[in-house]
Subunit: 408 residues, 2 copies
Amino acid sequence: MALIVQKFGGTSVADCERIKNVVRRVIATKKKGNDMVVVLSAMAGQTNHLISLAQEMQEFPHPREMDVLLSTGEQVTIALFCMAAREMGVEAVSFLGHQIPIRTDDAHTRARIEDIDAEKLKAVLKEGQIAVVAGFQGVTGTGDITTLGRGGSDTTAVAVAVALDANLCEIFTDVDGVYSTDPNICATARKLDRISYEEMLEMASLGAKVLEIRSVEFAMRYAMPLHVRSSFTDTPGTMVVKEDATMENILVSGVTYSRDEARITISKVPDRPGIAAAIFRPISDAGMVVDMIIQNARAGDLTDMTFTVPRADYRQTMELVKRVASKIGAENVAGDDSIAKVSIVGVGMRNHSGVAGRMFEILASHGINVLMISTSEIKISCVIEEKFTELAVRALHDGFELDKGPAT
Amino acid sequence: MALIVQKFGGTSVADCERIKNVVRRVIATKKKGNDMVVVLSAMAGQTNHLISLAQEMQEFPHPREMDVLLSTGEQVTIALFCMAAREMGVEAVSFLGHQIPIRTDDAHTRARIEDIDAEKLKAVLKEGQIAVVAGFQGVTGTGDITTLGRGGSDTTAVAVAVALDANLCEIFTDVDGVYSTDPNICATARKLDRISYEEMLEMASLGAKVLEIRSVEFAMRYAMPLHVRSSFTDTPGTMVVKEDATMENILVSGVTYSRDEARITISKVPDRPGIAAAIFRPISDAGMVVDMIIQNARAGDLTDMTFTVPRADYRQTMELVKRVASKIGAENVAGDDSIAKVSIVGVGMRNHSGVAGRMFEILASHGINVLMISTSEIKISCVIEEKFTELAVRALHDGFELDKGPAT
């Protein structure tokens, strides 16, 4: 007998019939002798509907009131779930964030969980009932309602699992696991049976939007095993777990990509100490996040700086940089918002060299020019022209033979 | 400067534009120098929508979960109100039942308010902000969410007004006040400027559904003046106040009616002690509410019993009574569900005789037969054939010259 937390996303609870299907699943797992805690999102579309109402009322909706509004979505689904469970003869009790409580800081619309009191949930489980928790929401120390930001229900599920010392946290979604790459681009993409937290983090932050990144960080910190799986089939999904010895041989687990990129180059900058700060301080002060930075020395104490920003920030950053460039005496500013980033991820890179070289070879053999490179312990990213995105992903997936399993 | 509680019903907050209109009204009253507390209902239709979702999930939705579900309706409107107010430059802070808290008993879906802590509301008012309270909802001592039943937002408004020792509680609705009778039936119906709590209670319970009856009882107990008025015009509505000396002369304030009636007669019942209990105990045990009861003695220790029940309970009550009748040896059971009740209400009846006689004369002069009569201190009701309802209402309104003002 195990204690299992199961989280179902918006598409899994999109209407009354789907909620009933979710209830049947949960009851089936319970009947195998497990204690069940369920975390639910709002019905698909509901959060967007509420946001559009808010935007009709106020140009920049007040964050505290936004949270009062948005938290109703999950409140509806947990109540409906409990009714359906009782109709099927199983007692289920709903919990809102403030009823548990799930304490957060007071950063409205993007709050962080600080503490969860597990006592009330434990009492319900002890009675043989299903505990049903509203995802995405919490409460501050002064009783204000907060929400955790997009994908926050994943974080709720993991945090509740940790607080209860659960055996497993299952995230049910509309895909059946984590894939070696995007199946929409690459037909031979393979579902991964297991992946480490670190790899999952690199995959998630690079655009494989299956799990909310904070929830993976949370699970990693407390070594809570995650099972990402489909709410529409019974097939096992992908286990996200602590890295173990068997994973060390895996050079590449997956290929990811992001089109949300733009590149800016400042040419012939007079190279003196503090010049990088002079360029990047105004950008970060404006709230823009710079990803890769490359500096090339030129002759005559001049240097070129190239960096990437999210594409949505491109125009604003260009204007900012042009002002800065004239101030610091740079010769030219150029930009390009039709670039993409492709990356390979694998824990085995830590102990093996040569993976980067192989990646560049594969790209080169398909005529794809690499514009920028960045690497971390378990990831290598290349910036390329956007038009090559699909080709690059397929080439890397084929080249590392990921259709046959993780590359070793 | 006064402290005013304003409550707006579902039709007044039915969409974003209407909510903005409500906000403008509240701000206008605030700018006259008043401290403002606003109590809001759910958007019109929303509560019924949620109930239909619940009924899809469970045949008899679990009351605790029903309250979790239904309380979201008001949560949405208070958040939207506060956003719109801030967009117009006025600070407004929303409060859910559990945040104030509004403590209730644990009778889910029809809870009663036990206590309201006014401190947080007072703090907001002291800051010059508008306090915006979710109507209809409260919280139990153990943190469960409760709702107060249909029309519960009126009760919230009055209870909050009492807790804050407000100067006035204004109930904004889709009619512009309390009328001398139903304007849909009687074109000469007049809006009343003032009416006593007692009269309002008789009017409300008899079918003039402008105010929720519990809210009037609450206001009466604490002598909180109510102002019932339209949210779509600036015209003053009807003040519901403590009876004063000037009201004693008012014989008849209004004429009300109810079609929600059915009549059952048990004939030739052997008349012995305890016979009434033998008949009515099973009916009340089944949860049915009997209104009028008349007993007529016959020759030979036999008696006839006639009583009325809500029309919705008619068939079930008939079956019950037939079983009881055979047990106690009654000769016959007859019923009629095409009856109606017309009533005249006025505080002056306490000190004046002859009003009943005048009522019977008026009805008789229009050929309307009176089937049953019941009286209270400030009300006389007659049961008549349903087909005469409109005729009776108009005849009484004309007969007591209510188009010229309350009959004295």
